[in-house]
Symmetry: C2
Subunit: 339 residues, 2 copies
DNA sequence: TAAAGTTGACAAAAGGTTTTACCATGTGTT
DNA sequence: AACACATGGTAAAACCTTTTGTCAACTTTA
């Protein structure tokens, strides 16, 4: 049915060993003429190596696993796209593992990936406050598998580990600076879960900006959200009887909630309140009031993750690498100078 | 390193054959006592079958391929999620293949999937007007691989083929009916590419609604878009010097374009113009003017696709099945009764 | 008691590749 | 002539399962 290495050997009057050597460009003493003959024959007969056989023999799968909470979230989808584009380029495959935030499901996936001799896994789910222990044991499991892994936005792990991260401290800093420079002084913050490293860094950046302007930080204007649309809405409910001229929502989804929360109180953006988001979700440019936001190079991060993994798979004793990406403030219509 | 079937055999004082038979519950004459012993041992020693070996021996991978144009599009992401959820349930895997609309890339993917002994592929990309021939030859390739495949929203293929489809004719019908029942008579349509079967059906449904009301259909109020945000904008530019009280955009993304296009001409929704979308993108509920739209059960379609494929993989001579899904009109704030 | 049937398990091949150690043959040295 | 050394290539094992035909050892039947 399928044409094998042996078929080619037969057709060429050679041994399978030779064919294999040629087709993999192994250093060996084989004459140019036979090399050419084999290559031509392989082409002509439509040879494709059996993935299973290669995998069995070499314990390599040329496959990456991507473990994320939710593929419908544009952030993860973009990351996935980056990862996959590099995979495709290198002729690798990507298995998608969406955990829906279930640590147990994550565990199942990790075990399945193991059985498949996966060559690397990019894991974006991050242990937050709750259920840390299972997430941690999953990491442990992953590490014990001796498979290269790359984390996202999580650097403070027990041992050195590959990671792609953004300089979120700077992200928080430049966005806050922007608002301050427009004259805002009463700025409200709707943050991410305080258990997340990346959320903390962002907030620290915000504080640094205040510090730079010699302003007192006011914890009363900080509402801890959880990166959902609803928590943006709730944030405004919390803030409604406080005084503020600007809101910095630490992701775009919450900023959308802020938009609608504000309109509930008949406040308009940016006339009454300036709003800044974080992520540059593709919709932010499209909204009737386009959102000023901090752009993360998520696609590039996905690509880099793939590169790191593939490299690590090919160089078993490569040192862990941490690639840091820069952030950019995208100015749109949701912020204005205060009178 | 990894524990194999032979290790278990050794530990139990049995042959690998017996262990395999037990672990796969093959009908065979093996005493209960040995069965139990083997199972216990497997558990205890942490045995996981080698995917590669099973794959090589049985030519089965327990893996599905998903071929889509773009994972960042919520429609495909939702479909992917449905497919993957079922896979996970059955302990299968899913390889993501994002073509970015490149037929050649699609071809590469199909070949790669073939080499992996893929057990089924869900293919959502649909040959539209341009480049049909390559897409067609890709389908041909897929069919020649004798791998179960399931299409989406494409039924008129040369030979019977699995498919999950929506009754788009009805979708167009009910949405148009809604506008008509609100008193609208000058209704503009921004359609999808006329080469797509699903886009055609939708339009036909619209026409049927007009027919039911004994109204004359006006081709001048139809703008052919391509399902992008921009084409929604362009649609309004085209329509601006025509008379209309409602717009039916045949997907939500274009409806967003319509929103912004209208605001450019100082027309507001729904006061001046009613707008209906199609898809029920998750954002449609969140917009400042929530969008009335036709909801497709995309997640369910993804799940069904997986079920069809897994079933077909397990029953080699199953007949092609076509599952049709119902559509629902979701009433929100973007449409109003005409005075 | 010999033949027939059952029961419980196994030997061995097959699936397609990679890799190492080895083998002929031919060429160049002394 | 005897040897060393390139040159070009191959044999065979290994990777881990699945599956079929076979085989002892018992038990039952005639």
């Amino acid at each position: 049915m399928k044409v094998t290495i042996t078929d080619i050997a037969q057709a060429a009057g050679l041994s399978p060993a030779t064919v294999s050597l040629v087709l993999n460009n192994r250093p060996s003493r084989i004459s140019e003429s036979t090399k050419n003959k084999v290559k031509a024959l392989a082409q002509e007969m439509g040879y494709h190596p059996s993935f299973a056989a290669v995998n069995l023999r070499t314990s390599r799968s040329y496959t990456l696993g991507l473990v994320i909470p939710d593929i419908r979230n544009d952030y993860y989808a973009t990351y996935a796209k980056g990862l996959e584009d590099v995979c495709q380029e290198m002729n690798w495959s990507m298995i998608l593992c969406t955990t829906n935030q279930h640590p147990l499901r994550e565990k199942q996936y990790i075990e399945a990936l193991y059985a498949k001799n996966i060559d690397g896994v990019a894991i974006v789910t991050t242990p937050s406050s709750a259920d840390d222990s299972i997430y941690d044991s999953n990491r442990e499991l992953l590490l014990s598998m001796k498979v290269p892994i790359v984390q996202t936005d999580l650097t403070n792990y027990r041992e050195p580990i590959n990671a792609v991260v953004c300089d979120h401290e700077k992200g928080g800093y430049i966005a806050t600076l922007h608002l301050l420079s427009l004259g805002h002084r009463k700025i409200a913050f709707i943050t991410g879960p305080s258990g997340l490293e990346a959320a903390q860094s962002r907030l620290e950046g915000c504080k640094r900006a205040f510090h730079k302007y010699n302003l007192k930080w006011d914890d009363d204007l900080v509402y801890e959200g959880d990166y959902t649309y609803e928590s943006g809405l709730n944030g405004i409910d919390y803030l409604c009887d406080r005084e503020f001229t600007a809101v910095f929502a630490l992701n775009d989804l919450m900023a959308y909630g802020v938009y609608n929360g504000l309109s509930k109180y008949n406040l308009s953006v940016p006339e009454d309140v300036s709003v800044v988001g974080y992520d540059d979700h593709f919709l932010s440019a499209i909204l009737t009031v386009p959102l000023t936001t901090v752009r993360q190079p998520v696609y590039e991060m996905g690509k880099e993750a793939a590169r790191i993994l593939i490299h690590a798979a090919e160089h078993p004793d490569a040192k862990p690498v941490i690639t840091t990406f820069d952030l950019k403030l995208i100015l749109r219509k949701s912020t204005r100078k205060i009178d």
